[in-house]
């Protein structure tokens, strides 16, 4: 599970109000490089929840990967930024698309119901009495 997928997911368990963001815990995660596509990031950025993304990176023990506040778009998409090591767009790309959580859990902030992540696949199944 990549952090982009984590950013979308909310818990739908009975009793949850927003069920978001799911608290991430990871005992095992890895990174895999993928080519940066600035147009994709540009389309994505207004749609994602920055705070949830930052919280997820910090939960993985990466306190400095992303700042508390989203940098201005002019900075992120500045000409040539994609080629600069450590630039905002590179970090965002890395956070969203290059980190894979293999083992861990997602916890609903409202109900504390925990959803395990096993072999990279979060188990979001609800029991009958939770729907």
């Amino acid at each position: 599970m990549r952090l982009l997928t984590h950013n979308m997911l909310a818990s739908n368990v009975r009793g949850a109000t927003t069920g978001y963001p799911l608290k991430l815990e990871a005992s095992n995660w890895c990174t895999k490089e993928v080519e940066l596509n600035a147009d994709f990031i540009r389309g994505l950025l207004p749609k994602i929840d920055w705070r949830a993304l930052v919280a997820a990176t910090r939960a993985l023990g990466l306190p400095d990967l992303l700042p508390d506040e989203q940098p201005p778009e002019e900075e992120i998409f500045a000409k040539g930024a994609a080629d600069v090591e450590g630039s905002a767009i590179r970090r965002i790309h890395h956070a969203l698309l290059e980190i894979h959580v293999q083992q861990g859990s997602l916890t609903c902030p409202d109900t504390n119901r925990s959803f395990p992540i096993d072999k990279g696949i979060p188990n979001m199944m609800l029991h009958e009495d939770e729907v």
């Binding site: 990549r2 950013n7 818990s11 080519e35 994505l44 696949i121 979060p122 979001m124």
Partner: protein, 289 residues
């Protein structure tokens, strides 16, 4: 090679199937960056960009005409090869070894799956560089096809964990990365909606009436660009009405009609039925929510 349980025959098709294919093998992906690569692919007759090129005069000298015809034939051969390559890769996927009948687990055959995704990309630009979700992904046919066509992020969702494991293996065998979620489509909850395109072969509802409509309703909430889906032709009017009236679609179009050979287990209600007529739909959701 496992061709899955169904064979699909194209009956009628309005959409352009085939042209302008993308690098399909993974070694090519390590080559030049995506946009560059796309630019150097020849654009083909019938593809989007050539629609605006003016027609050449019909009275060209015979020699030039012959040359053009030869060139066209060569291009078509090249396209066929790429399409076949995708079809071949999809044919190599492991599919439902022990299908669960109540979940309507039958794979989309490689023939139709490859053409479904080609249409989505070549006629509508809905796959490459996009965030694509596969609802009821099973062993990952449509998700893998999307990843092979260079979707930027692919997310498969299914209620059956064994299928998901196979989907993961299928993707890994082709060195593709797809994200997977184990969930019932009906109880999914998304806070943000970055998905561009949903592709799906939902349960037709032969076991549980209306199962496909439930999938479609969620898909039209989640996608921002388009939803591609297969539904029984016998429900065409109903699907169209529901999609437009109740489920947030601003357009609903049948791209082609297919013959879908369902596994025997599903043909309980009409013994004479050998295969069923199925429509390939493209829905456009109302993105201003």
């Amino acid at each position: 090679m496992n061709y899955g349980p169904n064979v699909l025959i194209l009956v009628r098709c309005r959409a352009q199937l085939g042209p302008a294919l993308l690098a399909l093998n993974r070694t090519a992906l390590k080559g030049p960056p995506r946009r560059q690569r796309r630019q150097c692919l020849p654009r083909l007759a019938g593809s989007k960009s050539s629609a605006s090129t003016p027609r050449r005069p019909a009275c060209a000298p015979p020699a030039a005409r012959g040359q053009r015809r030869r060139r066209r034939r060569r291009r078509r051969a090249w396209v066929d090869m790429k399409l076949k390559q995708l079809e071949g890769l999809l044919g190599g996927l492991t599919q439902f070894p022990n299908p669960k009948v109540e979940l309507e687990q039958y794979a989309t055959g490689p023939h139709i799956a490859s053409r479904m995704l080609y249409t989505a990309e070549n006629s509508f630009d809905d796959i490459t560089g996009k965030f694509v979700a596969d609802f009821g992904c099973g062993c990952g046919t449509l998700a893998v096809a999307s990843a092979l066509l260079d979707a930027e992020h692919v997310l498969g969702i299914d209620i059956d964990p064994q299928s998901l494991e196979l989907a993961q293996e299928n993707a890994a065998d082709l060195e593709l990365d797809i994200d997977l979620i184990w969930s019932d489509i009906k109880s999914l909850s998304f806070k943000v909606l970055p998905v561009d395109t949903v592709v799906m072969n939902p349960p037709f509802g032969t076991r549980k009436r209306g199962a496909d409509m439930e999938f479609l309703a969620v898909a039209l909430k989640v996608a921002s660009k388009a939803v591609y889906s297969l539904h029984k032709t016998s429900t065409r009017e109903h699907i169209k009405k529901m999609a437009l009236r109740d489920h947030n679609a601003i357009s609903a179009e049948v791209l082609c009609e297919l013959r879908y050979d369902l596994p025997r287990t599903y043909k309980f209600h009409n013994k004479k039925e050998v295969d069923i007529a199925v429509d390939l739909w493209r829905f456009v959701p109302n993105a201003r929510r």
